[in-house]
């Protein structure tokens, strides 16, 4: 596998979706290609920093308007 091939497969590699022979070929390339190793590691970190596993809070004013709209709709339905 050459560098272009690695870049094409990065997403599937990071998601663990590559067939074993392709993954092994890619990993063999990474053993000797510093640039591709850097791109793979940095792309993995990119996904990780954006992936949010923490609880986030809804701004109070947005929450108020949402529940107000919801109550009005629920009330309309029950009448």
């Amino acid at each position: 596998m050459n560098c272009k091939g690695v870049i094409r497969e990065i997403s599937d590699y990071l998601d663990g979706e590559l067939e074993l022979p392709v993954r092994q070929e890619l990993e063999r390339h990474l053993e000797h290609c510093v640039d591709c190793k850097m791109v793979v590691d940095q792309t993995r970190l990119t996904v990780d920093v954006f992936c949010d596993s923490k609880t986030v809070e809804l701004p109070a004013d947005v929450k108020f308007r949402l529940h107000d709209a919801l109550h009005r709709r629920l009330q309309e339905k029950s009448n």
Partner: protein, 217 residues
């Protein structure tokens, strides 16, 4: 003035690669069943549980607070109106994400009609060639305070083209599967994969400007 986003929370460097979504709790189906029977408190509990995540999703897609709020409200109201049609062949949260993503996309298309299309095929591989290859050093994200990191992520995702951003948000932030993302957006699985690859590479390149060694505070 653009409102603070503050919704993209970075993971710490010690976290392993992302885990499967644990957003939907085990009792979700009980709440859905009760809500279907007309229990409004059960539906409100579902809203309380997912409102922040759905707002983050609509905000990430539209990048406009007013549109994001409207899309979120309509998503919850529509999910309530159509709850009886929900077949429970997927999780309620996934179904809700699909509705919210469509509401957000509708507003994005209205606001930027010439900039956004998921229909256009992506051709060529020239854009796949990585540029700006520089060492980030160990744990580059830890060089920034949390508020700085939020600002960086917000700026970076803001600059990503909407058709790539939508796919990235559904797959990597909301953790939908490739199939769920394709279904939500009405595009093929290869189209999702192709856009996700490009989105990730483009974001890496944009983050490089902040993370390369020697740039941090």
């Amino acid at each position: 003035m653009r409102p603070p986003i503050g919704l993209l929370m970075p993971l710490s460097a010690t976290n392993p690669h992302r885990l499967p979504s644990s957003v939907a709790r085990d009792d979700e189906h009980l709440l859905v069943a009760a809500a279907k029977r007309g229990d409004t408190h059960a539906f409100e509990e579902l809203v309380n549980r997912y409102e922040a995540k759905i707002f983050r999703l609509t905000m990430n897609i539209t990048r406009n607070r007013e549109d994001a709020e409207d899309a979120m409200q309509d998503a919850f109201l529509k999910s309530y109106a159509h709850l009886k049609e929900f077949q429970e062949d997927s999780r309620f949260y996934t179904w809700l994400v699909r509705i919210a993503a469509n509401e957000a996309l509708m507003r994005l298309r209205k606001r930027r009609p010439n900039q956004f299309s998921l229909d256009e095929p992506i051709e060529g591989e020239e854009d796949l060639v990585p540029r700006e290859l520089e060492d980030w050093g160990p744990s580059p994200e830890q060089r920034f305070a949390q508020s700085e990191m939020h600002e960086i992520l917000s700026q970076v995702i803001d600059k990503l083209e909407p058709d790539f951003r939508v796919v990235f948000v559904l797959r990597d932030v909301e953790e939908l599967s490739t199939e769920e993302t394709a279904k939500a957006l009405g595009i093929s699985i290869p189209a999702v994969k192709s856009r996700l690859l490009r989105a990730r590479l483009k974001l890496r390149e944009k983050l490089n400007r902040y993370f390369r060694q020697g740039v941090a505070n």
